[in-house]
């Protein structure tokens, strides 16, 4: 044979039993020119930031939130300032309460969608393949969402509070103290953002957008509505408790105009929602680890 070739190992398929002896270490194969980066939480945060800003539902929920908070807040200020009613030495900050209460539903919806929509679309499988550390995925989502929700809420609440304060100066409202300002802006924004974070965690547990949103809206409104219809004397205590610890009443504590004189006061609502959210987060994390995606 003129073109005889030296005996060659056959194709990789046939040489299978020897593959471990091949050069390139124990696991030979293709080596990419792309630099290998050890992925960490920073990468996950960048990824989640891209995700949250690249879907229209974020723009919708936050857009409606801004409209509600600014619209209702400014309307309330205008009504009071154009009427002859006197604020009777009350803090003008409480005018911002109702807009933020309605707006919180948008933040809760966005929170749920951040996690649950990935299950609805199947995106979660792609996410978990790209980042096998489930704790990192949940943490990145929680951080990105919380910072976004807090920033937007704070900006809106602070703006509305300042404008309202200026509008109702002539109606006999007193000038709020620094700590009242702090509670009605930073405090209530932390509360609303935590409420959103709780929704995000519930979304991760329920894995179903509509279901989780229903649960959260129910949590927001049901205790107050149920309490309003509890006329029986025997249920008086329960009724009181439901009223005092309902989310709207807890939110109003930040404006010092609680429905009742007992119940949570000062910064207590913030510690309550923080405790509940931390507990739910721990539960969501445990479930995320044990469940199949």
């Amino acid at each position: 044979m003129s073109n005889h070739q030296p005996p060659m190992p056959q194709a990789p398929a046939a040489a299978a039993p020897d593959w471990q002896a091949a050069p390139g270490g124990q696991y030979p194969g293709y080596t990419s020119p792309i630099p290998v980066v050890r992925a960490h939480l920073g990468h996950a945060l960048a990824s989640e930031w891209t995700k949250i800003k690249s879907v229209r539902s974020t723009m919708w929920t936050l857009g409606v939130f801004v409209l509600l908070v600014l619209g209702i807040g400014l309307l309330a200020g205008a009504v009071v300032s154009n009427s002859s009613s006197s604020m009777d030495d009350q803090s003008p900050l409480q005018l911002g309460f109702f807009g933020l209460l309605l707006g919180s539903m948008c933040i809760m919806t966005l929170g749920v969608l951040t996690t649950a929509s990935e299950y609805g679309t199947g995106m979660i499988r792609t996410t978990m393949t790209a980042c096998p550390s489930r704790s990192r995925v949940l943490a990145a989502k929680a951080i990105v969402f919380f910072v976004l929700a807090f920033t937007i809420t704070l900006a809106c609440a602070a703006f509305v509070a300042m404008v309202q304060n200026a509008m109702v100066q002539d109606n006999g409202a007193r000038t709020p103290t620094g700590s009242e300002w702090f509670k009605a802006t930073v405090g209530v924004s932390l509360y609303v953002a935590l409420l959103g974070l709780l929704s995000l965690v519930i979304g991760s547990i329920i894995r179903h957008s509509a279901g989780a949103i229903t649960i959260m809206i129910g949590l927001l409104l049901a205790p107050l509505v149920i309490a309003l219809f509890m006329f029986a004397q025997s249920l008086h205590k329960l009724r009181e408790w439901l009223l005092e610890y309902s989310i709207p009443n807890q939110m109003s504590v930040f404006y010092s105009n609680s429905l009742s004189t007992t119940g949570p006061s000062g910064w207590e609502p913030l510690w309550i929602i923080l405790g509940v959210t931390v507990a739910a987060y721990a539960g969501a994390f445990a479930l995320l680890r044990s469940r199949d995606v």
């Binding site: 194969g29 792309i34 992925a39 229209r56």
Partner: protein, 319 residues
């Protein structure tokens, strides 16, 4: 290199994957074949750490999936085309994946170009056809230029041009030394792309063999004969020591490629032949024989057609 050792997944009473043990080696395309519901996708999800195995172990180059520091640059997977948020554009979908693994942003444009989606990069994924969704999934798998690639039913929904493209893609990826693991329920598709074959049915390993061996063992060649003097022909063949199988209708079948011998024999005895042809049993048939017992979802069989090859029915009872 993917190594499965006794991998098992149970959902309550139902066993989806039953003690699977095999290796997927680099440098070749390994086909992962099984009927619907055989456990292919479940196996792939366990490889990717999405589902927890009930028992057994699966490792990628010696590591569990969640121990990979750079998963996307190590292993790229197309699980199903639906694993995308429909409201996000193709570009942003790939960008968030790239960012999660620290892959340079420039790769996004490169893989979009590679799968032919550049023109619709800014369009929302929910407007994509199934084939385009499949291409987006493949782009995601290629994003990290990984050394291992897994494709679950990649040709589904692709047009002929797309099927041709994915076949060549898989072959070229393997030729670069990468591990390519591709599932399908179509034997004919695997015969064209895979070098090695892993067949499962009802979660159990049925075959782990090279494609060439599988073809050699399963692609039965036989000679099909029809003659108006059927009885005489049978006698003549019998005298010559040739084993004949009576197929449906008036046809006879002889295993092995002996067409010339039979033709000459018939001529010597003056027997007229209406047909003398060498036939090749399809690999699809071989695959169906192999998995017949383990097909999960049997369609209700209609009345068997008269002309069904005899061997067909035998396979269902015999295997």
């Amino acid at each position: 290199m993917i190594e499965l050792a006794g991998l098992t997944k149970r959902y309550g009473e139902k066993v989806a994957v039953d003690h699977l043990t095999f290796r997927v080696r680099p440098g070749i395309v390994t086909g992962f074949l099984g009927p619907n519901g055989a456990g292919k996708s479940t196996t792939m999800r366990m490889i990717l750490g999405l589902d927890h195995p009930t028992a057994g172990d699966v490792r990628i180059d010696g590591k569990h999936y969640d121990q990979l520091a750079d998963p996307l640059t190590y292993i790229g997977a197309l699980l199903d085309a639906k694993a995308v948020h429909g409201g996000r554009s193709a570009y942003n979908h790939l960008l968030c994946l790239a960012q999660s693994n620290g892959i340079p942003r420039s790769r996004v444009g490169e893989v979009l170009e590679a799968v032919g989606l550049t023109a619709v990069a800014r369009k929302k994924a929910k407007g994509f056809s199934y084939g385009m969704g499949q291409r987006l999934g493949i782009a995601g798998a290629l994003l990290g230029d990984p050394r291992i690639l897994m494709f679950d039913e990649p040709v589904n929904g692709l047009d002929p041009e797309g099927i041709h493209w994915i076949r060549n893609l898989m072959k070229s990826l393997a030729a670069q030394g990468r591990t390519v693991f591709v599932s399908s329920h179509l034997m004919s598709e695997m015969a064209l792309t895979a070098d090695h074959l892993v067949v499962i049915g009802q979660g159990r390993l049925l075959a782990d063999t090279s494609m060439a061996d599988f073809i050699r063992q399963n692609a039965r060649a036989y000679v099909r004969i029809r003659s108006p003097q059927r009885e005489r022909l049978l006698d003549v063949l019998h005298e010559d020591g040739i084993t004949v199988v009576e197929a449906g209708g008036d046809a006879l079948e002889v295993d092995g490629g002996k067409a010339e011998q039979i033709g000459e024999l018939a001529a010597r005895h003056g027997i007229a032949l209406h047909e003398l042809s060498t036939q090749q049993a399809s690999l699809e048939e071989a695959f169906m024989r192999l998995t017949a017992e383990s097909v999960e979802y049997h369609a209700q069989a209609g009345p068997e057609p008269e002309s069904a090859p005899r061997d067909w029915g035998a396979g269902w009872k015999g295997v």
